[in-house]
Each structure stands twice: as C-alpha cells, then as structure tokens.
C-alpha cells in the first residue's frame, strides 16, 4: 500500500517519525502516515489510542516531541487555507450566546482576514452550507437549543464553508441521531466525489467498510494503514485492540 501512496504526486497527509508526549508519557510513538489525496480515511483504535491527538498534532494544535508533518506537500502553516476542521462537538460550550448561522460564518473568518466582517455573500454561502446538512430551518436558532446531532451538523456546515481540499473530522458520528448520521454519510460521499480528502476519527468498526475506503489502525503506535479490506485483518485487529479483537472481527 505504501507504493500506491508514494506513486501519488502529492500526499494529502505525510507524517514521518511522529512522537507526541504529555509530560513524560508518550501518547503517539514513532508514527508514519502517508495518505494519498481523494480518499476517505478513518482513524480507528481503542480509547486512549491517540486518535484525537494525532489529528490535533497534524493541525498544529499540539507540538510534537519529534517528527515531521506535511499537508498537501507543505507544512501546515502554509496550507491552512486548504484545510477544514470539525472538532469534537463537546470541545466547545454550546451555551455561547449566538445562533447557528453565526457559527457557520466562523468558517469564513480565515478567508476574510482581519477586521473585515462577513457580508451578504458570506451569509448566502453559510445558508447554502446549512442547507447541505439539512439545517437551513435552524439558521436563527440559538445553538444551545439544538440537539446534539444538530450541533454536529452546524459544525459540519462550518467546515464546508471553509471550502477546503482536506478535511479533518473528530468523532463526527459520536452520539448523533439517525438523521445526522445519514447527513454525514451523504456529505462524506459528496466530498469524495469532488476529489476532497477526508480524515475522520472513528469509533465504530462495524460501519468502517461501508463508509470509508481507507483506514488507519492506531494504538499509540501505527498498526496498519491502507484500503479497508487489506487492513482489517484479524491479526491487525488483535494487535490494535488486544484480546477483544476476535469478537470485533466477527462484524459484517
């Protein structure tokens, strides 16, 4: 699989020898990850495996102890206008006094630059993005009055308006309702059809094959990366999840 990755002119994500530590405890150890452009990649692994940490390190939110990260062929700082980010839903306080449309508009701030305020065209764009996630009717709703799934969709709309080449989503499926899950899947497929690369921190092995074409098995170290069919072997699962793997591998 690495030959396939290397044959790609530009890698969406190119991580080499990455180590991240909190205080003295390593949470990611010597990670290599090459993701070609245009794939839907799920990062899976048990709790505490470092999935969120890996994404946050690629995004420059955490300083690695060692290693190199390039996105779309250059360091993150040079490429940030090409990258969209959906953080974990519970990483913010939803009791903030604002409405759904305003949160989506925050995705335009990077394009707007300093001081300039979002204008009419930005608003139209934000409405369009809310429409895509089925939330147009909630544009003026105070964000604390939205359900968890609706909040997740507002975050997705905020990433969409970033109009990125490469998206990172941290547990978008966590604790959402059926309608939101469908909306996310439709969105992922649309992004793929437009040639975008999407990297998703995911929890559910059962839906892996159905939703994603690539996967990374992670548990502090990288266990395997590649097309889902090649990577999802009982041995790899055993190495990622330990004893529970036999049971998990029984999935569809």
């Amino acid at each position: 699989m690495s030959s396939q990755a290397l044959s790609n002119p530009t890698l969406a994500v190119d991580v080499t020898d990455l180590t991240v530590a909190y205080h003295d405890r390593p949470v990611l150890w010597d990670i290599d990850l090459q993701v070609p452009t245009g794939v839907l990649l799920a990062i899976v692994g048990p709790n505490g495996a470092g999935k969120t940490t890996l994404v946050r390190t690629i995004l420059g939110l955490i300083k690695p102890a060692a290693g190199q990260v390039n996105v779309l062929g250059a360091p993150y700082a040079a490429q940030r206008h090409l990258i969209g980010y959906v953080p974990q839903r519970n990483s913010v306080d939803w009791d903030f006094p604002t409405v759904a449309l305003d949160v989506v508009l925050m995705g335009r701030y990077g394009h707007l630059g300093w001081i300039r305020r979002p204008g009419r065209s930005d608003r139209d764009l934000a409405m369009e993005c809310l429409e895509k996630v089925g939330m147009a009717a909630f544009a003026d709703r105070q964000i604390s009055q939205l359900s968890g799934g609706q909040q997740q969709r507002v975050f997705l709309a905020r990433a969409l308006i970033q109009d990125a080449q490469l998206y990172f989503m941290d547990e978008p499926f966590a604790g959402v309702d059926a309608a939101t899950e469908k909306a996310i899947i439709a969105l992922l497929q649309e992004l793929r059809s437009r040639g975008k690369t999407v990297i998703v921190v995911h929890h559910d092995l059962q839906t892996l094959k159905e939703y994603f074409d690539w996967t990374m098995l992670l548990n502090v170290r990288r266990v395997a990366v590649g097309p889902v069919d090649e990577v999802l072997t009982p041995e790899n699962l055993e190495r990622t999840y330990g004893g529970r793997a036999a049971f998990l591998a029984e999935g569809p």
């Binding site: 700082a77 990483s91 306080d93 903030f96 604002t98 701030y109």
Partner: protein, 380 residues
C-alpha cells in the same frame, strides 16, 4: 441643575461621568470575561493592581490619578502575564494560579501601603486608602478625560477585533487552525480587561471592582442569546448601577461608593436570575410545572384508553380512583379535572371517570405521537 434636592454641581457631575464610563467599559469587557469563564480574573487583576498604585505614588510622589492609573495597569498586566506563564509552564491550574497572584500581589501592595503611610503621614489624605473601597469624590475633569480616552481605546479595540475575540472565546482551537494568533489575541483581550478594571479602581475600589466586571455580564446573559445584545445590556446595567450608586453615596455621608454601586448591581443580578424569560428561575419553574402537567394529562389519557380497551364489552365503564392509582402519579383528581375542562373526560360518579369520544380521539393521537417519536429515534 437641581433634581429633587440633589445638587448636580461639579463635584457630583464629574464622578457621575466617571462611573458611567466605568460601567460601560467594565460591563462590556465583563461580557467576554464571563463567557471565557474567567470571572475570577477581575478579582485577581484588581487586587494585583494595588502594589502598582502604591509604587506609582512612591516613585512620583504625587497622587495624580493618571500616574496611579498607569501604575495599576502595569501591575495588573504583569499579574495576568505571570498567571499565563504559570498555567503554561507548570501543572498548576488557572484558578490556583489566579489565587496565588491575587494574594501575593495584594499582600505586597498592603505592605507598601503601610510603608507609605509611615513615611508620608498625609497619605491617608493623599487618597491612597480609598483604593480599597473606592470614592467618587475629588474626581476632576481631567480624570474624566483620562478615563474617557482609555475607555474609548478599549471599546474601539474590542469593536475592531470583534469577530476574532468572539471566535477566540467560543472555539479557540478552531481559531488556531485557521491561523489566528490566539496567544496575541488572548493577551490583547486580557490587556483590555486590565484597563477596564484599572480605570474603575479609584472609584469603585479594589475589593469590589470585580463585581463591576462580572455582575452586569451575568445579569445580561439571562436576557438574551445574542452576543452584541448581551454586551449592550451589560454595559447599560453597569452604567445604571454606577450612576445610582454614586448618587446614593453622595447623599449619605461616609457611605463609600464601591459597596453602594455593588448593591445596585446585586439588584440587577437577582432580578435577572429570578425573572428573565427562559433562563430565569421563575420561568423555568413555570415551564417544569407545565411540562409535568402535560405529561400527567397524556399518561392519564392513555391509561384510560388502555383500561377501556381491556373492557371491550363495556367501553362506557367508569374507572375509579383506585384503579387509576395503579398507573398514574401526582394529584389524579386535579389531572382529571383538567381533562374534564378540556372536554376529554366526564366524572360519571364520585371519583370515577371515563373518556368522552373527543377524549378517545385525543388519547389515540397522543399514543401515535409517542410511537412516532420512538420510531424517529430508532430508525437507522
């Protein structure tokens, strides 16, 4: 000018202009302090400013407010920078770091104050001690101009970087990924808060200045779900409390300004916590009661329907209180009374009821809605 016996001469007008500026600026910045969950910050900064005030007096030998103000800003700023450094470089959390800086700086300030009062016996008259509880007297026009200038700079900066500060407050991680320099923004916002506090110190006092920052914002949050509205409300509450407090303390001898203003702030907070729409305690209590009643009515309807369906031969059969007590909670006769008022049930004999045909339709509708709700949640 004369209003109801209050003489609006120079010695009252200047303080009133002053507290209005303080109320607007502190109330506005307090909005961000509150939303960033840094309510303790106001207390910390105002206490940390004391050594700066006293040092400024010791160095310049004058009690000119602008000198003391600059001293307060520098000391308050140094305090917040040290807090930031402690949080980043040690395992000490924000609240502990603030507590340490507050007490260390304030203690140091009190020692300096004692020294000053020994060396300059007229320091009491020099107006230093009033920094503790605040005094609105002796404010000069030039002081008002200084406050106005600093306050305007503060609010203008806030307006200029409005969207950046908003994103920094709501989702700092996302702000960082789109390239906002969140460290610099954070320091800028802190500096604005330091200035907002410093310009109020002499009038409101070290001990209560934090109330001026947080109380109007906490009250304003109760009434609105929009950030700009919250800021305007907060500034208004701050200004009104400031004016009311200053007027009151000017009419009663030896009544310090700070505590009097705080009393009016407290009134705003209490009324807002109690009676604001949606977030107020009274409103929430009413809503809970309404929901409870709604649930009691739905379950009563459905229960009566089930009982009737289990007696198909005699669907007009009334159901006694005893048989309903098996599956219903709360004040059953009161619930039944509400059903009767709505025309959904009739009391056929003492404490025995049956559904009307309208009640049966309503009960079936309720049941269907419940089932659809459940379906929505389960469908995959």
């Amino acid at each position: 000018m004369n209003l109801k016996g209050i003489d609006f001469d120079y010695t009252l007008r200047m303080p009133l202009y002053g507290v209005t500026i303080i109320g607007i600026v502190a109330g506005g910045l307090g909005t961000f302090a509150l939303l960033r969950k840094q309510s303790l910050l106001g207390d910390t900064i105002s206490h940390a400013a004391l050594p700066g005030v006293v040092l400024a007096f010791m160095i310049t030998g004058t009690k000119t407010p602008i000198n003391l103000l600059i001293g307060a800003i520098i000391a308050g700023w140094v305090g917040t920078i040290i807090i930031g450094a402690i949080i980043r470089n040690t395992r000490i959390k924000e609240d502990a770091a603030m507590g340490v800086i507050l007490s260390v700086f304030f203690g140091f300030g009190l020692i300096l104050l004692t020294l000053v009062q020994k060396r300059w016996p007229d320091a009491r008259q020099a107006g230093l001690h009033q920094f503790l509880f605040g005094s609105a007297t002796n404010m000069l026009e030039q002081d008002v101009w200084v406050m106005m200038t600093l306050g305007s700079i503060t609010l203008l900066t806030l307006a200029l970087f409005w969207k950046e500060f908003k994103l920094l407050t709501f989702d700092p991680d996302f702000a960082k990924t789109i390239g906002l320099p969140i460290r610099s923004l954070d320091i800028t916002l802190m500096t604005l808060i330091v200035i907002a506090i410093a310009i109020g110190l002499q009038t409101v006092g070290v001990v209560l200045m934090s109330a001026m920052l947080v109380a109007p914002a906490a009250a304003a949050r109760q009434w609105t779900n929009r950030l700009p509205v919250m800021l305007l409300l907060s500034s208004s509450f701050g200004a009104i409390s400031g004016i009311a407090g200053t007027l009151t303390s000017s009419q009663v001898s030896k009544l310090p300004t700070g505590p009097t203003i705080t009393i009016f702030l407290t009134i705003f907070v209490l009324v807002s916590l109690g009676f604001a729409k949606e977030r107020g305690l009274a409103w929430q209590w009413l809503r809970r009661r309404r929901n409870r009643r709604k649930i009691q009515i739905s379950t009563a309807l459905v229960t009566l329907l089930h009982l009737e369906d289990s007696h198909p031969a005699d669907s007009q059969h009334p159901h006694s209180l005893q048989s309903l007590q098996a599956s219903l909670y709360g004040d059953i006769p009161a619930t039944m009374e509400r059903l009767i008022t709505s025309g959904f049930a009739v009391e056929t004999s003492l404490q025995a009821w049956r559904l009307t045909s309208a009640g049966q339709t309503e009960a079936r509708d309720t049941l269907q809605t419940m089932e659809e709700d459940l379906d929505d949640r389960l469908v995959h």
